[in-house]
Structure formats: C-alpha cells, structure tokens
C-alpha cells in the first residue's frame, strides 16, 4: 500500500516542479504565467475564462494531440519494462506512417477492412523498425540508445524520399489525399466538436492501453519480459530465452509506435507528409512513459497531461507566450523524475544490512 502512494507521489511532485519552473522562466523573461495557465485550461475544456465562451473544438484538438503520445508512451514504457531504453519511437512511428500511406494509397479494400489493413500494416512496419535495434542488442550487445537515435534520422529521410519518389507527391510536401475507406476520420465526431480533427483513433488507443496492461501483468509472456527487465542473469538461469524476449519486446514496442504513425497519418491528417524535421512524438513518449511509471493507467493519465501541453501551444503563441515553454516544462518534469528515481534507488541500496548477511 505504501508503495502505491509513493509511486503516485513522485510523478505528481515532478509535474508540480516542472510547472513551477516553467512559470519561473516566464516571469524571468517578462511574460505572464497566468496567460499560460489560461491557455492550458482553454485547450482542455474549451472554456475561455476571459471571454466566458465555450468552444468544443479545443476539446477535440486536445484529444487529437493526446492520442499519438499515449501510443508512443506505451511504446517506450513497454521497452522500459523489459530493461530497454527505446528512444527510437519516433523512427518507428515514421515507419508506421510510411506503411499506412502505402496501404491507404495502393490497396483497394472495402471501407471497414481498409482502415484495419492500414493499422495492421503500420504496426508491422513499426515492429520491424523496432526489431532492428532489438536484434542488434540481443545478438551483438550493441547499446540500443545510439542505434535507435540514428534510425530515427534514417526513417525521417526515408519518409521524405518515399513521399516524393514512391507516393509521387506533386508539391513535395504532401501526397494525394487518401480514400475515405482508409481513414479514421469521422464527420460525426468532427461536427460534434465544431470542426476539430477528432477521429476514431481513440478506439485503437484505448484497445492498446488495455492490451498493454494485459500483456505485461496477466500473461506468462509478460512475466518473462518483466523478469528479463529486472534481472537478465536471473532470467537466463531460470531458462528464459533472454535474447528472444529482447527482440520481441522491441517488436511490440515498435508496433505501438507504428500504430501512432497511422493514427496521425490517417486520423489527424488525410495524406502523407514530408517533414523538415522530426516532430518530437518520440520524446513526448519518453516523458509520458516516465511520468506514467511505465504502467497503462499512468501512460493514459500522463498522455492527457502532455497532450494538454501540446494542445495549448498554439493558443499560447497567439497570446505572446513562446510555445517552447511547453518543452521546457516537459524537460524539467523528466529531469526531476530522473533525479528522484536515482535517489530512491540509492536509498534502497544503502538500506540496513540484514541479519545473517555479509559484513558491512
């Protein structure tokens, strides 16, 4: 019981710390923190506290921002549970986008089936992109951190090349529009939220959250993943196939991220896009996973939090607050969590020597 409450305490304190620091930075550079908080409130609830008006479009856009980062959060969190640091969610997401675009444009299928194929293809592509660092780690013991970062860049350039060369973009920025059968778009949802880009993407997101929880906590496979994540040697001694687990873990993590790519490409947008730089969903996923303590419910909640930060950016910018304050807040929260994880780890190790144990 004590463990539960302390598990929640850490992220809460970190979040407060991050926001406090953000407010401090604003004040120090002559901006008003109140305007930032008002923008955040409006982005989540649609309520403009100054004008007293309500516009559900903000709520729709807020959910649109939260969805992909919940998925990349699941991606990073899943890998963390297995003892791996997946900084490659960004690249896996892009691999998913490419696959989603390909199936959307090239495959003909009836309305229900088409979008399912799109999602599956995206998951497979993301899984493949994750399998590479997983395999390299298992087989050659190459540290996944630098490999996945490199693969993020490779995926970015691959995406840009594909948009022009494979998908024959005319303006070199976006592809042709997708057929309706391939998309997660919904006129009903959009109308409900006064023209936001809210779409059916929340269905695969919710399914993923449940699947994540189920796989890790309830299955024998999840048991062995957790064992490997906690103690590779112990798992090996017990007969578990450590290398195989590492690869599968990265495949599943990649699949979550790939799914995020699909949700963005055929949900938020309706065409493939060439990008000047990575959009940062991967780093958002890291923040979401850490704050969510790598648990499904945590990822859900912190996905909402960071989704709010992202959604509030345009409003903030329009009110003269540089939108980068969101990154500063996000980084501070992650940094604080990093420090606290370190502290509690040390406290554990410095605990009293137990009776019957080796001398201190």
């Amino acid at each position: 019981m004590a463990k539960r409450s302390s598990a929640i305490l850490l992220p809460v304190v970190a979040i407060l710390f991050g926001f406090a620091l953000g407010a401090l930075v604003l004040v120090a550079t002559g901006k008003g923190p109140l305007a930032m908080f008002q923008a955040m409130l409006q982005s989540v609830t649609g309520i403009n506290s100054e004008a007293g008006s309500f516009n559900p479009r903000y709520i729709g856009e807020f959910i649109v921002q939260a969805m992909p980062i919940m998925l990349t959060g699941l991606s990073v969190g899943f890998a963390f549970r297995t003892g791996l640091f997946n900084i490659g969610a960004e690249g896996q997401l892009m691999a998913g986008s490419i696959a989603a675009t390909a199936v959307a444009l090239w495959v003909k299928a009836p309305p229900g089936a088409h979008v399912v194929l799109v999602l599956l293809a995206a998951m497979a592509a993301g899984g493949l992109w994750g399998a590479v660092p997983g395999y390299l780690k298992a087989r050659f013991n190459v540290h996944e951190v630098v490999v996945t970062i490199m693969m993020n860049y490779i995926a970015l350039f691959l995406n840009n090349w594909a948009v022009v060369a494979l998908f024959k973009s005319e303006d070199r920025i976006k592809t042709a529009a997708f057929p309706a059968s391939a998309m997660l778009k919904s006129t009903a949802l959009s109308a409900m939220t006064h023209g936001s880009r809210l779409n059916w993407g929340f269905v695969p997101v919710l399914v993923s959250l449940v699947a994540y929880w189920f796989i890790i906590e309830k299955t024998a496979f999840g048991y062995s993943l957790r064992a490997v994540g906690f103690n590779k040697d112990g798992a090996q001694y017990a007969g578990m196939k450590v290398n195989r687990n590492i690869v599968w873990s990265m495949i599943i993590a990649g699949a979550f991220a790939g799914l995020a790519g699909a949700v963005i490409t055929v949900g938020t947008f309706s065409f493939g896009r060439a990008l000047p730089a990575a959009e940062g969903y991967g780093f958002d996923g890291i923040a979401v996973a850490l704050v969510g303590a790598n648990a499904a419910i945590g990822v859900f909640l912190s996905g909402l939090l960071f989704g709010m930060l992202k959604a509030a950016q345009t409003l903030m910018q329009s009110q003269g607050i540089p939108k980068e304050i969101a990154s500063i807040i996000q980084a501070s929260i992650v940094l604080f969590i990093a420090m606290k994880y370190g502290i509690s780890h040390v406290l554990q190790k410095l605990g009293p020597p137990k009776p019957g144990e080796t001398d201190r």
Binding site: D233, Q236, Y237, G239, K354, G356, E357, T358, D359, R360
Partner: protein
C-alpha cells in the same frame, strides 16, 4: 609498565539504519604484533576496520593512534597516519599495470608527466625488501590472484604504511599461498610493521596471531592471548555456544550413475578454455563435492551442466540421455536442479514478489498458467505451501518483496524452490556463502536429506571444510581438469590442498 599500543579503538559505536553494527567495542593493538579480529559474517569486524581506514566515522567512542586521539575522515588521513588496508575484494583497476595501480593517487612526477620509470624502480625496491614478488609492467587482468594480493600489499607499503589491516586475505588463496602469506606477514612484523588480521579462520589465527579480539553481533566478547586459547574456545566465543564442526550424517548408499560427464571442454567469459578435459560421474544417493581454488573451472563446469554455456567438445549424459545440446529449460524439465552461487544475480529476481520467484521455472505451464495467462491464485497457494514447509521467514507472506528478505531466508526460498521440484540431480554451488551459522546448519541438513532420498548431489564450494564435511566423495578441480577423486573419509586438507595447487594427482 604499560604496553605500547599503536592503535586504540575505545568504546566504538557505529549505527546504520536499523542496526548497531558496533556496540561499544574496544580494541587495543600492540606495536609490532599481529592482532586478529575474529567474528562471523555480520559481527561488525569490517565495519570496525573501515572506520580505522577512514571509510566511515564512528558515532561514538575514540580512536587513538600512537597515543593521540585522531579523527580519520577519509583514506588519505588514514594513509598519513600510516594505516593501510588490504581489501578482501581487491580494489585494482583491471586494465592498469601493477605499477600504475600502486602509484595511483600518489604519482611521482617529472614535470607535468608521470615518472613511470622512477615509479617502477621504487616498486622493485619495495618488492625486494619485503619479498613480494610482482611484475611491475604486467596488467592486473593478466596476473594471478596471489600476485594481485601482493600488489594490494605493495600499495600500502608504497605509502609507508606502518599498520596494515588485512581483510579476510586467505579467501582466494591455495593452502600453499596461504602459507606464503603467513610468511610475508612474519617478515613485515620483523621489519617493524603492525598487522591487524580480520578473519573467521581459526587455524590461521593460531598460526600467526599473538592476540585475538572476538566480536559477536556488534559486541566485544573478549580479547585473548592466542597461544593460551584453544580453537574450540575461540569458536565458542565467536558463535556463543558450543559449535559442532561436523554435521550428522549416515554413511551414503550410492546407486546408479545419474550424471556422466565425458571429456568436456568449456569456454569461459574471456573466450579461453575454462574447463579443459573434464570427466566425472555422480551417483544417485551420493554427494560429490568439487573443491578447488576459485577460478579453476568451477563456474564453467556448472554452466556446462546446467546448460548456460555450450560445450566445445565432449558429452554430458543424464540418466543415459545426452543433454549436451539441450537448453536450460529442457534440462530443468528433465530433472536437473541448480542452487546457484550468487543468489542475487542468478537465484532470484529481487524485484519480483516472493511467490513470483517460486515459479520462475514453471510459470508458463499448468497449474500456474493456462493458455498463456497466469493463474495468480495457484501461484499464491504454491508459495504458501513452500513458505510453510521450508520455514521461509518473510514479512508479508507470498506477496513479500523478495528484496526485503534477509540473505538466509532468500537462500531458503531458493533451496525450497529447487528441492520442491525433486530433481534427480541437484547442483549446489556455494550454498552457504555469507550466511550465519543457523542458516548454514539448516541448509546442510536439507542437502543431506535430499541425498538420503536418493538424489544425486553435485556440491561445488570454495570452503574446504564444507566440502570435507558434507561430501561422500571429493573431486579436485585444478586448471580446468579433475586432478583427483578421493573418498571424503580417506583424505585430509593437506592432500586436497596439494591437488588443488596442481602439485599432485590422484584418480581412484
């Protein structure tokens, strides 16, 4: 006329969260003598000496060096006072040379650069003066354990240590190397040094020490003149009751051969052959003890039999079945059990609950999971049964965090798990390392019980006494080969020691 005490630690108190590691301990060491500090694991000997070396500070009491009260804030201060420590777990940088390790922190300079030639010269001088043979240019990872220890000693002599603390120095040495070390200690004392010897080995105390201070559970039990005290008396002081040095056991009744190892070769972590040409047989209903100096192939042998390492050549037959290419899981399922040497690294997943640790081999099969989904009730019930049967003490029952359990109970949990699976062959490695006497006795009794049930037991231990005590037959491992197989009743420590050092062979 009062004797000259070079070191006095008076009424020392040291408290860690939840435990009084030293509770009013007084230690007085005569100049130019060898003074032993005796106690079990957890008695507080290392803590006390760590304070003398400046790694911790006492919470109460005074430390006096050569009559003056001092505060030893860090190892540098200790060095300046002439106190040096030869650690149990060597603190040597593996890819530095012998010379670099010795001069680290006190490097001779020529301008901006380290004067390596001058350093090597000084090392040779010291080496000759004290009879400590080392190769100044060799890298630590390439030299023997005995030489590594001499480097540790030279580190202290280089800093003009007058008082040398030896922390359990003989754990990693052959009987012959131990005798050499005793000789080195005598010579150091002849040169005017004072030695503090931390140990739990009574024989060694009898051989070199003049005085012995006994600690138990953080308290001072007494200080005795070694020449006038028997080993039995010292043991009684150490443990608090009469100690039976031997475990009760009926003679063994060996049956069929359960494990047959034929001429195997196994690579070690560095890629070299750790086991060179090893053949062995273990029968049902017997305990075969493997003794040998650490690093002579024990780890590779165990890894080969359990399936953690592949065989370069040779075969392993288990009840007639060729296991050589079987995976770990296949062997466990076939009936090979393993109580590993390192309970934290291999034996348990510390971050799991206790009940999760009990099913680490069998979580994927009924009754613990069906169709890939775990059955938590079955797992918990299983844990309750094992806790009861094997008297595993844990704060919160099956849901206890394994990390919070004591070492003895963690080991009991591992023993429970492995024995409960009733393996035909049980491999037991270093089963009682770091445990107190009560836990040791319990585990020894359990091992004998399994043997009496007709199981084959392969015992690998670095504690010669344990091997002699428990085994029916003893095989000696040296340089990756079995150099002798003898009846436990028919041999003694000297004969084993010679074989362990490679000076004798005996295959009976």
């Amino acid at each position: 006329m009062s004797v000259a005490f070079v070191i006095e630690m008076l009424d020392i108190v040291k408290v860690f969260p939840g435990i009084r590691a030293n509770d009013g301990v007084t230690l007085q060491v005569e100049q130019g003598s060898i003074h032993a500090l005796l106690g079990e694991n957890g008695a507080g000997k290392s803590t006390l000496m760590s304070m003398l070396f400046g790694l911790y500070q006492p919470d109460g009491g005074t430390i006096k060096v050569r009559g003056s009260a001092v505060r030893i804030g860090n190892p540098n201060v200790a060095n300046q006072l002439g106190i040096g420590m030869v650690h149990q777990h060597f603190k040597l940088v593996h890819n530095f040379t012998v010379t670099e390790n010795i001069i680290l922190g006190l490097e001779p300079r020529s301008g901006l650069v380290i004067d390596l030639k001058g350093a090597a010269r000084r090392v040779r001088e010291l080496s000759d003066r004290y009879g400590l043979l080392v190769d100044p240019e060799a890298r630590i990872e390439d030299i023997s354990v005995g030489m590594q220890q001499r480097v540790e000693i030279l580190k202290m002599l280089y800093r003009n240590a007058e008082i040398l603390i030896f922390d359990e120095p003989t754990a990693v040495l052959t009987p012959q190397e131990i005798r050499e070390l005793m000789g080195i200690m005598h010579r150091l004392v002849q040169e005017g040094k004072t030695i503090l010897l931390i140990t739990h080995k009574l024989k060694e105390i009898k051989e070199v020490a003049r005085t012995c201070t006994v600690l138990r559970r953080g308290r001072l039990i007494g200080t005795v003149a070694v020449a006038e005290t028997t080993e039995a008396r010292m043991a009684e002081m150490m443990v608090g009751r009469e100690v039976s040095f031997h475990v009760e056991k009926a003679p063994g009744r060996p049956g069929d051969v359960v494990l047959r190892i034929e001429r195997i070769q196994v690579r070690n972590a560095k890629g070299l052959l750790g086991v060179k040409d090893l053949s062995l047989e273990v029968r049902a209903g017997e305990i075969l003890g493997i003794c040998g100096i650490d690093g002579n192939g024990q780890t590779e042998l165990i890894r080969a039999v359990t399936g953690l390492s592949d065989l370069e050549s040779g075969r392993i037959l288990f009840k007639g079945l060729d296991l050589s290419n079987h995976s770990v899981k296949q062997r466990t399922d076939a009936g090979v059990g393993h109580i590993p040497e390192d309970r934290h690294k291999h034996g348990l997943i510390l971050d799991f609950r206790l009940d999760e640790n009990f099913v680490v081999h069998s979580y994927g099969e009924p009754p613990f999971s069906r169709a890939g989904i775990l059955d938590f009730r079955a797992i918990r019930v299983n844990a309750e049964r094992l806790i009861q049967e094997f008297d595993v003490r844990c704060g919160q029952g099956p849901a206890s965090p394994t990390r919070a359990m004591s070492g003895g109970n963690q080991q009991k949990a591992i023993v429970a798990r492995e024995i409960d699976r009733s393996p035909a062959l049980l491999i037991v490695a270093q089963p009682t390392r770091g445990l107190d006497v009560g836990a040791i006795e319990y585990i020894h009794r359990r091992i004998i019980a399994e043997r009496d049930k007709g199981k084959a037991i392969l015992l690998v231990s670095l504690e010669l006494d344990e091997v002699l005590d428990l085994s029916d037959r003893i095989a000696v491992l040296c340089g990756g080969e079995i150099v002798g197989v003898v009846d436990a009743q028919a041999t003694n420590e000297n004969e084993l020691g010679l074989m362990m050092a490679g000076s004798a062979r005996k295959v009976s």
